[in-house]
């Protein structure tokens, strides 16, 4: 058994050496593709996680009209809560709002002095939500309630929209760039295997003549594709790690010691190796399938 494995591996390695430049190109392009895909996925996940923490800070202030009764105010709370995407609703009366305003603006005591007697602040509902992208829709529904002041829904619409659109753009960029690179690397792996088949046609013929089974004849090509994909995955992880370290150091320098989180080396390495290996296997299969089919047609 070990003898067979050793034979198959040595055949694959011989082929890789034989097509050295093509192998080099295939491995590097796979690494690039996986770097872009893996890197952007990692970035997307990181920014999404960061955005999720921001969502707790993003809130919507809903100002109520003067003269809304206590019953009306109480009835409004469950209606807001019922809107899709709303996480929490907290009521703050005028006095609390004024108190917080004073606390947040310590330099204007003179201007706010005596306002308690004729409090201009409205009763307010503070609404938080689960997803940034739902903020506009939630705001639109709330603004439609009669108890709410005209233009009485206040939130950082532009900032939230920008963050949300950045995430979407990042996702599409990853899909398109990574897809193109993945396709290119796939074509290169496919071509390398085809070249191998051409270069090894004598060996294949001899193997078939002496009665080697299909496993022994074709497995080295599968191994070759998998090695290319795995090496690409390994390289991509290495480059990502280096990028992470550099970005971390830069962020540390510019943002007063605030670096980035730990690099998920084990999980990223595992996923990129699995992706690279499977991709190499798929490309080899396609490359082998084609000549075998043609061979069959020629014989028929």
């Amino acid at each position: 058994m070990l003898d067979r494995i050793e034979f198959l591996l040595s055949e694959a390695i011989t082929s890789l050496k034989r097509n050295n430049w093509m192998t080099f190109a295939a491995i590097n392009t796979s690494a690039m593709a996986l770097f872009i895909l893996g890197g952007l996925t990692y970035l997307y996940v990181s920014v999404s996680a960061y955005a999720a923490t921001l969502q707790d800070r993003f809130e919507m202030k809903v100002f109520l009209k003067e003269g809304v009764s206590v019953e009306q105010k109480q009835a409004l709370e469950p209606r807001i809560k019922a809107i899709d995407g709303v996480r929490s609703v907290v009521f703050k009366d005028k006095a609390t709002v004024l108190q917080e305003f004073k606390r947040d603006n310590p330099g204007i005591e003179m201007e706010t002095k005596g306002l308690e007697l004729d409090n201009p602040m409205p009763d307010t509902y503070v609404v938080t939500y689960r997803e940034l992208r739902k903020a506009d829709e939630i705001a639109r529904v709330i603004a439609g309630f009669p108890e709410v002041e005209p233009n009485g829904v206040n939130y950082l619409a532009d900032e939230q929209r920008f963050l949300d659109q950045s995430l979407v753009a990042m996702r599409w960029l990853g899909v398109i760039l990574g897809g193109v690179m993945l396709l290119t690397s796939g074509v290169l792996i496919y071509n390398t295997i085809r070249l191998t088949i051409m270069a090894r046609r004598r060996e294949i013929r001899i193997m078939e003549l002496v009665g080697a089974n299909r496993f022994m004849v074709w497995t080295p090509m599968f191994i070759e594709g998998v090695i290319q994909g795995l090496t690409g995955g390994l390289l991509a992880t290495g480059v990502l790690f280096v990028t992470h370290v550099i970005v971390g150091a830069l962020m540390g320098a510019f943002f007063r010691g605030q670096g980035i989180g730990a690099f998920p080396l084990a999980s990223l390495l595992t996923w990129l190796l699995i992706a690279g290996g499977l991709y190499g296997l798929l490309c080899s299969y396609l490359a082998i399938r084609e000549p075998k089919r043609k061979l069959k047609e020629a014989k028929a």
Partner: protein, 293 residues
């Protein structure tokens, strides 16, 4: 009592490559274990197709091919490697790997069929000695003469210790002296180990010089079959075994027409015996026509 089946049985075997081109036409033949059989015929006579039917490189269109009582025709694709391990195949072009030494050529083939390193170390010298090429074990194929290369090819065909050996034009690329050596070697294998041997050849001189059963093939059919003494004086086709027969071969008429269209002088050259180019052999690719006697 059940009659014993012949070792190799061809029963009304037809091979059609296309609507107009046939490889074999209703060929029936029995070969017993231990026989030495010459498949004699010109290019395009069906010799190679006959061998390919046995190795299942070609599947017969109709009829039945059996080896040791088992149908070759009905074998599934996965069973073909097993069939090929029951036979040794010596291809016309030797099929040696140029970047491997003589012993490595055998070792490679042995490893490919799953033999261990220990098997290789033990068997390779024995096989090389058996085909008298052990002294050139460390040479590369391009350092060997044609006869020596053919010995290596025969040695490689013996790695599975097969009861059947098929050789396609084993003397085709050799001079007379080397041809004799190779045929002697095949007879030695036949005598010493009882190996059934089928040799496809167009070389009438070699066939006349050695014993063995002759199967004369023509236009994809068997014209005559028997021992040389049985065939003397009969209509065995050996006496009129001349290149001009190629002209009559209906299997090749389509090819002839194309050649005539491509080369207007071809017909004149053909009539005057100038047969240097081009080849008319559909089996042997770019192989040139050779003199028959």
């Amino acid at each position: 009592m059940v009659a014993q089946q012949p070792y190799v049985l061809f029963d009304r075997v037809e091979v059609k490559y296309s609507e107009t081109v046939s490889g074999l036409r209703s060929v029936s033949l029995e070969i017993e274990k231990g026989d030495f059989v010459w498949l004699l015929g010109q290019s395009g006579s069906g010799k190679s197709t006959f061998l390919k039917c046995l190795t299942r490189e070609v599947k017969n269109t109709s009829g039945s091919v059996k080896l040791d009582g088992r149908s070759v025709t009905d074998l599934k694709r996965d069973e073909i490697p097993h069939l090929r391990r029951q036979m040794g195949i010596v291809p016309q072009d030797f099929g040696l790997l140029p970047n491997k030494k003589v012993w490595e050529n055998l070792a490679y083939a042995m490893r490919a069929v799953g033999k261990t390193r220990r098997d290789v170390r033990r068997m390779v010298p024995l096989i090389l000695e058996r085909v008298n090429i052990l002294h050139r074990a460390d040479a590369f194929p391009n350092e060997l003469s044609g006869g020596e290369q053919q010995r290596v090819a025969i040695g490689r065909a013996l790695i599975n210790n097969p009861p059947l050996l098929l050789a396609d034009e084993p003397t085709g690329n050799l001079d007379t002296a080397h041809s004799r050596e190779i045929i002697d070697l095949l007879f030695e294998i036949n005598r010493q180990h009882g190996t059934t041997i089928v040799v496809a050849t167009h070389d009438l001189m070699v066939v006349r010089e050695f014993p063995g059963r002759i199967v004369n093939m023509e236009f994809g059919r068997i014209r005559a079959a028997g021992e040389p003494d049985e065939m003397d004086g009969s209509d065995d086709g050996l006496d009129d075994f001349e290149p001009v027969q190629v002209r009559k071969n209906p299997l090749l008429q389509e090819e002839d027409s194309r050649l005539l269209a491509d080369d207007p002088d071809f017909e004149d050259d053909f009539e005057s015996g100038n047969r240097g180019e081009p080849s008319l052999n559909p089996d042997s690719g770019d192989e040139k026509e050779r003199p028959y006697a």
